[in-house]
Amino acid sequence: MTESPEALRDQALLNVGATSKFAPLPLGEAADMGQAADGTPLFDPQIFDSSEFARNPYPYYRLLRDHHPVYHDKLHNAYYVTRFADITECYFDDAGFNTIPKGSSSGVLGNTQLELSGVEHRRRRNLYGQHLVGKSLTHRVPSIKRLAREMIDNWSIESAPGSDGRTTIELGAAFANEFPIRVVCEVLGFPPEARGDFYYWYNSMMSGLGGSATHKQGVEARQHLEDYVGQLVAERRVTPTWLHDDDGNPISKDIITKLCETKVDGDYLSTEEITSNIALVVGGGGETTRGAIMHLWYLLLTHPEQFAALKNDDSLWDQAFHETLRHSTPIGGQPRHNTHDLSLHGVDIPAGSLINMVDFSANHDERIFSEPEAFNIFRDDLYSGKILRSGYAKEGRCSHMAFGVGPHLCPGAWISQQEAVEGSKALLAAMPDVALDLDKMQRDSISGEPRDIGISSIRELWLTFADGS
């Protein structure tokens, strides 16, 4: 200890008010955040709030995985768990790691199964989970295809083809933003005429999840949705409605009807509970699947040799879907709340702490996936078979963490795969010679390259194709 307090004071004062502590770095490089006496790199929790982290998170997660697999962030009063194996273990231990309210999301979505554990969770999850899997889902596939075709057939291309005869579209606006909502609306049993309102509620609720100025709109939209669902519920409690396949045969009652008929602990669900379930299914199934479709296309178009292989072999779509979710995971991770004191990697975590399980990081854990930053639909360490709640880890292959694993595994996983794969097949059929319109793509602020390791960041994907091709 040699510096005088005066020198230390001056040094500390230099940092006060420094507006941007973390200058943007080339993608893949992490800022130097200091070293412990033994040389271990230190981690500054303010990075989590920086724009540098938002655009370039992976090298920071690598730092955590390698040096602080359990990181105690005292600024945000939270712990971070970043290795695949640890996260898997925590997700399976539903009693030891409760789910917790998602920041301000429960204000908008309401109280949902996402925030319940154990038997409470199982009872509610099964209410509609069954409609999104297995035979119900198989029956739904034709209408997923129909919905995709309907959207593509109705494309109203605003600008005429350019002099090269090619047309430009933005995939989000033209397809990916709405398609997953349409599918979910249908499965829920929302009347098609309510779609317009529904998009408005959905968009407001989604943007309201952040707890900011838009939060109020989110809460208001949620209230409107609840008022509307109130009428539907009153009708369907008396007159159940059914889902039909494309030949008009009934498949099963729609989810709203099922929710109206269901009792939990001897009581029918209240309108509020039903609304919360609807909000969760829509909230869970919209933005995520949108992101998956956008990233899938972006990654394929920036890896032309893999795209070419896929064009020749339809069966590769499932692999491409899973590798996209691993590489560009739509949801960063899940918070959990430990119900007992525990010690993990030498860090004591008192019961009741907030622990962030970082799915982004798990999916880039080099202990599981080699060269994790590379997009490779042929990688032999990723399992791309039928999605299993128990996850898959055999013979050097592992399922990814984008849907979570264990009791809370995303119940929409199977249907979202159908949406992305069937939707993409329909898109490819409409634009066989599709290419990226690089001039219009958002670029990384530093490298100037189109963004490549995406976090749910691809808001716009500009494509060109020869009309009528």
Binding site: K74, L116, G211
Partner: protein, 444 residues
């Protein structure tokens, strides 16, 4: 994953959570209550705004939003609740049955040490230092300031005084003054959320503990005998012979010299920055005392303390879950317009602040006091008790008043260097809010 056996000491948040059944986890009702309805959303402020760099100097506007609109603000980004109204902050701070306030030593990682600062022998040492050793220390500090080529009141005067008091309490030899001063600087920041700063703090704690294990109190030669025959000691080790080196350090941290240092620096800043305030303070014999009380209200050096809910407890229309982190903002509470008129102004002769030492929930004579939460709850004893020294708060206040009076008596024309932004600021979020730099001209 290792679960901790039930008989282990309390975890760092001090909350022993009832184990839930592993089979059927309970339904956690607080989530149901916490669903915000239309009209309850907190759109006027984003949680990130509370921890941005600009808050280090001037957090008052944002805190006013919380105080006015969201008195129990759920900060989802920081995983905490913020309390900002005077009545709310004091009621939670005083409610030790439902909320646990960790000691400063614990926050600095000294979890196994006992802070004996409230015991009569240790408390007496601190009182001896302030009543008997302080005059000499002040006169050395004045010399220090005069001889400095770049005189700075915070570094050469206030920091010097508080460091000396602690040096004597710990029997650190005079030759090690510089080393001790630097070590103490790091230790004071050992509770930082900044990993690098905290690491240095922890290393400094280890260094000091190693040093304390070697020092022999008599050789340090700071035991003293006063003329009235009662033995007076400045040495904690002499007064508390059973204390370990860790206990000694925890006890010194418990004396809260941060508030003394910061309170004195902030008072000097207020008086240096405003000639009227200075002449008001100098105009009568209570002047510096009232200006000191006003400083501790207007610019409390400990801006926030945190506590944990011991169990699920309903407060302010919310169910606070067990283990919840609650930030009690003294900066906000001390500017609560329900308690103080023109709360953002520094009034050296403020009349709506209690001039006597506060009791209970920080009031006396029906008036509120500025919260100095680092010093704990108001004393339950009379202002001049017979069986013990006066309270830590009174000792700190007196030390600030004496030191400030001496400075402004000695240098009547002292002025701040022109164009210097001397406002109190935190070096990092949640750290002490102090006028760290007060470069002065001693004579015009």
């Amino acid at each position: 994953m290792a679960r901790k056996p039930a008989d282990q000491p309390l975890p760092s948040n001090g909350v022993a959570i009832t184990r839930r059944s592993t089979q059927n986890s309970a339904y956690r009702t607080y989530e149901v209550h916490q669903r915000e309805r239309v009209g309850q959303s907190t759109e006027k402020i984003k949680p990130i705004a509370l921890i941005r760099d600009d808050q280090l100097v001037s957090p008052f506007d944002n805190l006013a939003i919380l105080r006015e609109h969201y008195p129990c603000y759920r900060d989802w980004l920081g995983n905490a609740y913020w309390l900002t109204r005077f009545e709310d902050v004091t009621s939670v701070f005083a409610d030790r049955a439902n909320f646990r306030v960790p000691t400063r030593a614990e926050n600095c990682g000294l979890t196994q040490a006992s802070d004996t600062s409230a015991s009569i022998p240790a408390h007496t040492v601190w009182a001896n230092l302030i009543d008997n050793a302080l005059p000499n220390i002040i006169s050395d500090a004045l010399k220090n300031l005069r001889s400095s080529d770049k005189p700075d009141v915070t570094i050469d005067y206030t920091l010097y005084i508080t460091t000396e008091l602690q040096r004597l309490a710990l029997d650190i030899p005079e030759q090690q003054r510089d080393w001790f001063s630097t070590t103490l600087w790091h230790i004071q920041r050992a509770d930082s959320w900044q990993v690098e700063v905290a690491e240095r703090g922890t290393a400094a704690i280890e260094e000091l503990i190693a040093q304390l294990s070697n020092v022999n109190p008599s050789s340090a030669g700071v035991s003293n005998t006063a003329t009235d025959k009662l033995p007076i000691t400045y040495s904690l080790r002499t007064a508390c012979p059973a204390a370990t080196p860790e206990d000694l350090l925890a006890t010194v941290l418990g004396f809260e010299a941060r508030t003394l240092h910061g309170g004195l620096a902030n008072l000097c800043q207020a008086l240096l920055a405003d000639d009227n305030a200075r002449s008001t303070a100098r105009s009568n014999n209570q002047g510096f005392k009232i200006a000191c009380l006003e400083t501790l209200r207007h610019a409390p050096p400990v801006p926030t303390v945190h506590c944990y809910a011991r169990h699920e407890v309903e407060r302010f229309g919310r169910l606070l879950p067990e283990g919840a982190l609650i930030r009690l903002s003294a900066l906000a509470a001390n500017r609560d317009p329900q308690q103080f008129d023109c709360p953002n102004e520094f009034l050296a002769n403020r009349s709506d602040i209690c001039h006597r030492e506060a009791r209970g929930q920080f009031r006396a004579d029906g008036l509120a006091t500025g919260l100095s939460l680092g010093m704990g709850l108001p004393s339950k004893h009379p202002a001049e008790p017979e069986d013990r020294p006066r309270s830590l708060y009174a000792l700190t206040r007196d030390a600030i008043v004496r030191s400030a009076t001496a400075l402004f008596d000695e240098f009547e024309d002292i002025t701040l260097q022109a164009d210097h932004d001397s406002r109190p600021r935190s070096l990092a979020m949640f750290e002490a809010h102090i006028a760290w730099s007060l470069p002065v001209k001693l004579r015009n």
